[in-house]
Amino acid sequence: MSKITVANLKVGERGLIEQVAIEHIPLNLLEMGCLPGKEVELIQVAPFNDPLYIRVNGSHLAIRRDVAAKIQIIKL
């Protein structure tokens, strides 16, 4: 069974963060509020499919796809 991550979201879709791969994610992103239990929305995807523009914890952030793939979610 493959896990669903932020990288699997389509533009406009939302998810609830279930788990983050702490070792692979910069502390800074956790501190921005990318934490379990928070809602995340994919707002836009850059041309060539990367980076991703997300809204989480009231912040609008651009992160790269490889990091997004480390944030496990439940689709809403």
């Binding site: 983050v20 702490i22 070792e23 910069p26 502390l27 800074n28 992103l29 956790l30 501190e31 921005m32 509020g33 934490l35 379990p36 707002i43 836009q44 850059a46 041309p47 060539f48 499919n49 990367d50 980076p51 523009y53 914890n57 009231g58 912040s59 609008h60 952030l61 651009a62 992160i63 790269r64 490889d66 990091v67």
Partner: protein, 702 residues
């Protein structure tokens, strides 16, 4: 009583919260940008009076989302606030927070609060709260956060006086940490930590342990102790994770009762603008249009102030010469210092205009969108979306450009950006290109439309850009540096730029160029002056020799003095240096005279044209047309044909496209990378490529 002690304030806050607006509001023009000792980050300090008897100094610490740093700039916040023994350590911290995203801002607040320093929370953009449907119960927030809270609007000057009063009263602010947060994370771990560091507060000890590699003030034994402690408890990242969750729990509980937002009132301007500005087609079209306007202004509008500055310095030089009695001292001022200063001042218009545009783009929030659009493309070449600003700035001057690379989080991407930026055609190359192109390329039109000369100039820019991109690609594949993809860019709200902030940003960058590059250009032009105005026997007897060789000339005539100047330069130390390198540069099609110009233009490229003017003893040095005519007449002693023919001209043009002909850039690279290794590599490779390409060009063309 002696004069009142200066109250020290540190300004802290997330990026894009209006921290700098508040700083500008409080200090006005009484601010200066320096460097922190030993590192490269700009240190912004300002002064103002809190009341009639209390002067205050305020440092604008770099914007950060957390006390745990991810870039060099952010590290300053940690260093400054964690070391009470340091002179920078503030009496009171003012944290600026954005009313719209208070939750995230409070994370940093909660960390700062735990450092047990008096802290005032200034919630900014109070004027926009109503429109955005936000209401905050300030009194409740004060009680819950156990500190002073004030609503301000830095742009509209609301709440500034209240803030000043609170600062004056800083001794009454509670310095208690928030609610035993650290202990809740892991009792056992933090218990052991407190035992190891009995003299530090718990949070200070925790930061010391987790960030010891970033803390310069720790001794080696202290660092070893920290490492040892970590070795026994290797779960730091998990603890940091848990700490962050706990902090947000606390913040959420507080905001749930003290902070209300009516979501319906939020505007959708962001979404609308994002759709257009970041569109997969229009996004790029708009960006390139903006680039076009910027370059147009740098190359077109900047010409007028540049001409003006050039004339002013020429006049100043002539005027000074007329006022002072002739001698070594006068010569130093007239031929060394004034032209040296002129060589710096001439670039100010282009640099100021470019940074004006960049400041506006950054203030509006557009620059983050460009980073987003360009990241994937740039990454193909080992760069980052954040490399766009340095590469754009490089078209004016590599020095501020390389400094702009500081906010690239990944060291590898930052290093590659620094290394390839000097390939971008900077404004100092333009005078050289202009004169040589005019000399070797006929003033014709291709298909009756395109100017041939302009096309060649454009091609040279393109070659510079392509070599930057290709070198980046090669460096990415060869540099053995572990790459972390710590790319996080906040997409701020769009807003109108504040003229004050833009003006200060332009002044700041221009100053950085003047003092960064200026010192070296000035020092080198003095060394070059010495080498050009001194020499062995023939130089000392120059006057007699020139009289002997030109008996027909009137010794007071202008022609005579120009001939003498030329003879002197040829037999000065620098003239001999030109002769010495002639065998090396001959395969490129250059003679020893060009050799002299290559050496002098190492201080700054644009010196090339001036040096040739002196060597060829051009009558009117300020007039490029006469220099060009004179260069046209120059004969290659071996072939008997014109020296500046097509092969030599092309070879020279390409030499300047690639060669690392700029001392100041090397010095800045050394400073930014903290090692001589990288500037040495640049010098060696870039000049090596330049030599090879010029050699091949000359050989094939002739």
């Amino acid at each position: 009583m002696s004069k009142a002690k200066i109250l020290k304030i540190a300004l802290v806050g997330n990026p894009n919260t209006g921290k700098t607006s508040l700083f500008n509001q409080l200090t006005g023009l009484k601010q200066n940008v320096g460097n922190y000792p030993g590192i490269t980050v700009d240190r912004k300090e300002g002064f103002f009076n809190l009341n009639a008897t209390t002067p205050a100094s305020i440092i604008d610490l770099p914007g950060t989302y957390s006390i745990n740093p991810t870039t060099l700039d952010e590290n300053i916040v940690l260093e400054t606030l964690l070391n009470p023994n340091e002179s920078e350590y503030p009496d009171v911290v003012v944290m600026v927070a954005d009313a719209e995203n208070l939750k995230r801002n409070l994370l940093l607040f909660s960390q700062l609060k735990d450092l047990e320093i008096p802290i005032i929370l200034a919630i900014n953009m109070a004027d926009q709260m109503k429109r955005k449907g936000i209401s905050i119960d300030i009194d409740a927030l004060k009680a819950d956060l156990d500190t002073e809270v004030v609503l301000i609007s830095a742009r509209k000057k609301i709440g500034i006086e209240t803030l000043k009063k609170l600062i004056l009263d800083y001794k009454n602010i509670s310095t208690k940490a928030l609610d035993g947060l650290s202990i809740k994370v892991d009792e056992e771990f933090f218990g052991a930590l407190q035992k190891t560091y009995p003299n530090k507060s718990l949070y200070q000890a925790w930061l010391t342990i987790t960030q010891f590699h970033n803390l310069k003030h720790l001794s080696i034994s202290e660092k070893e102790a920290a490492q040892e402690f970590l070795n026994c408890h290797n779960k730091v990242k998990h603890l940091q994770h848990k700490e962050t969750i706990l902090r947000y729990q606390l913040i959420n509980n507080i905001l749930k009762k003290d902070y209300k937002v009516d979501r319906l009132k939020g505007t959708d301007m962001r979404a609308k603008l994002d759709k257009v500005l970041m569109h997969r087609v229009f996004g790029y079209v708009i960006f390139f249009l903006i680039l076009f306007v910027i370059f147009q202004s740098i190359f077109d509008w900047a010409i007028y102030p540049m001409d003006f500055i050039e004339r002013m310095f020429l006049q100043l030089s002539n005027w000074t010469e007329a006022q002072l009695s002739p001698g070594v001292f006068t010569s130093l001022i007239v031929n060394g210092i004034i032209p040296g200063l002129g060589g710096i001042a001439i670039f100010i218009p282009q640099i100021a205009i470019l940074f004006l545009f960049i400041a506006i783009l950054e203030e509006t929030g557009y620059m983050s969108r460009v980073v987003f659009l360009m990241d994937k493309i740039m990454r193909l070449f080992g760069l980052s979306g954040k490399s766009v600003v340095p590469l754009m700035s490089g078209t004016a001057c590599a020095i501020p450009a390389i400094m702009a690379a500081r906010n690239i989080n990944s060291w590898k991407e930052r290093l590659i950006t620094i290394l390839v930026t000097p390939f971008i055609t900077c404004s100092a190359r333009l005078p050289i290109y202009a004169i040589i192109i005019a000399l070797i390329i006929p003033n014709e039109r291709i298909f009756g439309v395109l100017s041939l000369q302009a096309t060649i100039l454009m091609l040279l820019y393109l070659v510079g850009f392509l070599s930057a991109i290709i070198s980046a690609f090669i460096l990415d594949k060869t540099l053995k540096i572990k790459k972390h993809s710590f790319f996080i860019v906040e997409m701020p709200n769009y807003k109108l730029p504040s003229p004050k902030n833009v003006a200060y940003a332009v002044i700041e960058k221009t100053k950085a160029f003047i003092f960064g590059a200026g010192k070296i250009i000035l020092a080198l032009s003095m060394v070059l002056w010495f080498l050009a105005s001194n020499g062995p026997a023939k130089f000392k007897n120059a006057e007699q020799i020139v009289i002997q060789n030109n008996p027909e000339l009137n010794q007071s005539s202008k022609t005579f003095s120009k001939k003498l100047g030329s003879y002197k330069l040829q037999h000065s130390y620098i003239g001999y240096m030109g002769h010495a390198i002639e065998p090396i540069i001959k395969p490129l099609g250059y003679d020893w005279k060009i050799g002299i110009a290559l050496i002098t233009s190492f201080a700054a490229r644009e010196v090339f044209v001036g040096t040739l003017a002196t060597i060829y003893s051009v009558e009117n040095e300020g007039d490029t047309e006469t220099i060009r005519e004179r260069m046209k007449m120059e004969i290659n002693t071996e072939t008997g044909k014109p020296l500046f023919d097509f092969p030599t001209g092309m070879s020279l043009l390409l030499y300047y496209v690639f060669a690392m002909q700029c001392m100041s850039t090397l010095a800045v690279v050394k400073r930014e990378t903290n090692s001589w290794k990288w500037p040495a590599l640049q010098l060696f490779f870039m000049t090596g490529i330049a030599y090879l390409v010029s050699f091949l060009t000359y050989t094939f063309l002739s």
